[in-house]
């Protein structure tokens, strides 16, 4: 990392106030993403991937509260910025693609209008030019017959097309940072491949930093340079993709890779991760939230979590690392 990162999240902690107690959803989450770099946040459901994105965007649920940490976008701390300043930054400098395009789009506005809105608000485009530019954006995301489609409402389009429209809206103001929260869940594999190609291509073309949130480790591996593995609100491992797959050092990462169907030759060889995420409302949460499921638990696990830097930007939060010899051999998969 030569340049200053586009976004750098440092020690982010988020709590949710609920009727049954305080849920400590995120605890000391740190990572950064550079210009033109794509990183992936990976983890099971409930691990805090989306909460991280929402906190950075400043769109946390009112019950949620950022209790510590900074998220620096250049010199601006997004977590302490005034709402008016945030509204200025959102859409212009950071944009987000949501999981379900159908619910995220406005159902009673044509898609062309929705793109034009962003252009007028953030892109310094006049009211007269906006519709034509919106059509151009639709063309850029590969929608056939964009002039006609611009007049369509979201319900008239397929899931894949709605997701393209979401991408067009997110990229309309040419943001420096794009957060894609499970952009292809619920789409077919063939459509997923096309949408991911599109996001990758546009990100490269515009030199955008991309944070890609997914639970699909294989997809993350294919699309990002660096993977941040999350478990129960902790970052357990943060490593360059190739290194993570060849040499996972955190027990959770190793189990996650072994549990992915693609890595196994037969079903019996597929590993399963015992237990489930701990209840984040508990007062006696252990320092390592994985320790209760962990096969490599030792006495040192009761101490506060370490953040070991193994060099090359490989950071692991574990006292008893998976030894370096323990390589999970890549299976020869047929094309």
């Amino acid at each position: 990392m030569t340049l200053a990162p586009t976004l750098s999240v440092e020690g982010l902690s988020v709590e949710f106030r609920t009727r049954s107690g305080m849920v400590r959803a995120l605890d000391n989450v740190s990572f950064s993403v550079g210009k033109g770099e794509t990183i992936a946040l990976v983890g099971e459901s409930g691990s805090g991937k989306s909460v991280t994105a929402y906190a950075v965007m400043g769109i946390l649920d009112p019950a949620g509260r950022v209790s510590a940490g900074r998220a620096m976008l250049g010199t601006l701390d997004l977590l302490s910025a005034k709402p008016a300043k945030l509204a200025e930054v959102r859409g212009r400098d950071i944009a987000m693609i949501f999981q379900n395009p159908r619910t995220a789009l406005n159902p009673i506005r044509t898609v062309g209008r929705q793109i034009a809105d962003v252009l007028m608000r953030h892109g310094k485009v006049s009211r007269r030019d906006a519709p034509a530019q919106a059509v151009e954006m639709l063309r850029a995301v590969g929608i056939t017959d964009p002039a006609r489609r611009a007049k369509a409402y979201p319900f008239e389009m397929s899931g894949g097309m709605c997701q393209r429209v979401m991408i067009a809206i997110a990229l309309a103001a040419k943001p420096a940072l794009l957060i894609a929260d499970e952009p292809t869940t619920g789409l077919d594999v063939t459509t997923q491949a096309v949408i991911m190609d599109l996001i990758n291509d546009l990100a490269t073309k515009m030199g955008m930093a991309t944070i890609f949130i997914t639970h699909d480790l294989a997809l993350a591996g294919q699309r990002s340079a660096r993977i941040v593995v999350m478990h129960a609100g902790h970052v357990v491992e943060n490593a360059p993709t190739a290194e993570l797959f060849a040499q996972p050092r955190h027990p959770y990462t190793a189990e996650l890779i072994a549990a992915t169907p693609d890595s196994a030759v037969s079903l019996d060889k597929l590993a399963s991760i015992p237990g489930s995420l701990p209840d984040l409302r508990r007062a006696d949460l252990p320092p390592c939230r994985y320790s209760e499921r962990c096969p490599r638990k030792i006495g040192a696990c009761a101490q506060p979590l370490p953040h070991l830097d193994l060099g090359g930007g490989h950071i692991v939060a574990c006292w008893n690392l998976v030894p370096e010899r323990h390589i999970i051999a890549p299976t020869v998969s047929a094309a």
Partner: protein, 344 residues
Amino acid sequence: MTVLLDVAEFSKQFPVGGGPGTWARLKRRFTGGVEKLPKVFAVDDVSFVIDKGETVGLVGESGCGKSTLVRALTRLIDPSAGSIKLDTRELALKPSRVFARDRDRARIQMVFQDAGESVNPRFTGFDTIADPLRRLRKLRGNALKDRVETVASQCGLPLQLLTRFPHQLSGGQRARVGIARAIAVEPELLVLDEPTAALDVSVQVVILQLLQRLKKEFGMSYLFVSHDLSVVRLLCDRVLVMYLGKIVESGPAVEVFEHPLHPYTQALVAAVPRLHENGSERLRLVGEPRSPIDPDPNVCRFYGRCPRGTDACKKTMPALRRFGTRHVACHFAEEFLPQPRIAS
């Protein structure tokens, strides 16, 4: 191998605009009734067999007719044409309402996609599993209780969870309840509609291993619907690939995924993200699928998105042809064969 289920020339069409309402009714009256309405060809002329003890995978993108086919096989909806034979008994002619009380109802059971949505929220785990036993096996009292507890433990469901309601169970536990309900009446064919789609990888593995164990123990046949090809490859003996209501390719799962012959299967296999390789320069599908409403019977359904498509595909619909253990519906399947063989 003996054949358990034989599906022949099966079709299902849905009329478009046949809904309720005064306007729709008036329109139907003046345009010649439901028969004249345009139709969605959800499943069109599909034939296949499932052997005893076999696991067959059914893959295809959303909207290709997987669920319609599965619903018709489990006799939840009535087919428009074709036959469905269980052993030697023809089921297609029995209306689904009649079949619900039939003696063979217990022989075909289904595990639905989202276990949380497909169980009655006011039924406890016990009631959910007991329901088909009460209706189809007429079990009562202690016999019922014994059977429910046996099935629950076979599915790895702790007995103390049986008193809980669905919202008090985790995703994996709910999936187990759904499976226990389906196998309680000892079916011979179990249809699984994306049973693990809503689960995390760590839970998915456990459920898949459970399904494989149950199959070995009870010798059931599975029809496994999924769009996750890596799961299908692990679990299934044979695979059927559907595209817009047609079966475009079928054959042993390993062969189909290693040497896909149909261009659609090739694109599907290429689109699956894999852990240890980079998927940048891969085969990609362009455009949107053709409309399934009154499609031209002489045009290949894949024409327009197909990278190999020529004018011939616009003139004749390719038939499903046999290549050894495989069936492929493409004019150019020979080109993709590992070594040239003569089409039979």
